[in-house]
Homo-oligomer: 244 residues x 2
Amino acid sequence: MATSCFADRLAKHVPLSDAEKKALTRLEENPRKVRRGAMIQRVNEMVTELFVLREGRVMSFVILPDGSRQILRVYFPGDFIGSASTIYSRAPESLVALSDAIICPFDKHALRRLLEEYPRVAALLFLLSNAERVALTDRLASLGRTSAKARVASFLLDIFDRLRVTDDSITDSFDLKLTQEEIGDAIGLTSVHVNRMIRQMEQEGLISRANGRITLRDMARLEEIGHYTNRHKDMDLDWLPGME
Amino acid sequence: MATSCFADRLAKHVPLSDAEKKALTRLEENPRKVRRGAMIQRVNEMVTELFVLREGRVMSFVILPDGSRQILRVYFPGDFIGSASTIYSRAPESLVALSDAIICPFDKHALRRLLEEYPRVAALLFLLSNAERVALTDRLASLGRTSAKARVASFLLDIFDRLRVTDDSITDSFDLKLTQEEIGDAIGLTSVHVNRMIRQMEQEGLISRANGRITLRDMARLEEIGHYTNRHKDMDLDWLPGME
DNA sequence: CGATTCCTTGACAGGCATCAAGAAACGTGG
DNA sequence: CCACGTTTCTTGATGCCTGTCAAGGAATCG
């Protein structure tokens, strides 16, 4: 059976039945290519669609009245995007493609049917949205209580570990594919200061860079500096409803 | 039928069947009193329990290695607490009672049965956890991109609007029941600077205070200063699975 | 290969933290 | 119900971390 990106991702956490996989695959029936920089969803627009990201990278963000931007989340292939708009009729955040990407839009009502017919999938979605919640609180603590250097360190580690979930070939380096301005907008700094911190970490041998690729040279110290915890190691979904 | 605090809360969003209400009520079968300051859950502890808060106030937080604290969320009666630990075996955050409180602990497995038997409730929980997600991203933008004064303003408005969801008698004033240090720990400031901002807002006639009670005197300007959006107005759960 | 975006670096400024200390409010036990 | 210890609030002085402004260089894109 051809399974979807999203089904594969969920199946990494708990075994899924064929029927469940098939239902998840149906969410991805309408893939759509979008170009780097394309606006997928605009804040305050009426929304009836959600997305699964199949390829590329997408970010969610808000723009404040003074023009500054806060990036809320960076999404990778297999991620479920737009859950925020399940509960609001108007989008609370904008979505833009960070690279050329393939997104699979589906209607709220398709999600409704899925939740209705596959309670186990509903439970799983609930749990994964709680995992994302924890990711957000981690960054909240980072912004609220740590230095610029710590924020950069934990941000790099976070992206690194998230990429590694779906790509086993990654060992110590990865393509960040974010400008320093975007990094700053994600962790509450200016691009200028992000640059200073990255440069400093490079000089100290914590990381190195080569044409857009970041290599983590001293992960232990990076984790210490960033007060970073890898949350992916400690997941426990065994108590979920069993497969029939 | 005696309904629970939690069922009442959920029923504000969508009508619930009697069976659903009864199932939710069962989650609150074991109320437990806790004193102000009591630790309900310690970070990194093994967790198998979740909670419904019936009375009083509770906060979740983390302590960083340098001793600083980030308050992640303040909870009010009817809130579902500890969803973070649905997916992790060890608690990612600590829980402490901010006032004398009544909490209703229940086991992960009780939640499992609920999700299994009442898919509509599962869907509802999923949606509400997405609403909390949005609340967190709002605060993320606040910490990342706004001034101290803006953070205080939006924090006060947020607490105010959340209290009003369950208490219709509130018009323009409320008991904050948080020290200035706690406010600071929630919005990434020191207690000293929180004090300066509150004092300034008081002088400007934006708020006033009397024995622990805050009165919002100019809500329009507060919303403008804090770049605040009331999210409670725009909820739309009509597309949820229908009641049988 | 020209134009635009992105990176890099320096000088300077400002917002918020830190430290400190007294006043006020609160809680608790006698 | 008062007295006393503790917590919380308040205010000032000082300093640092990060922002702002600016400008040249590098890289990327069409």
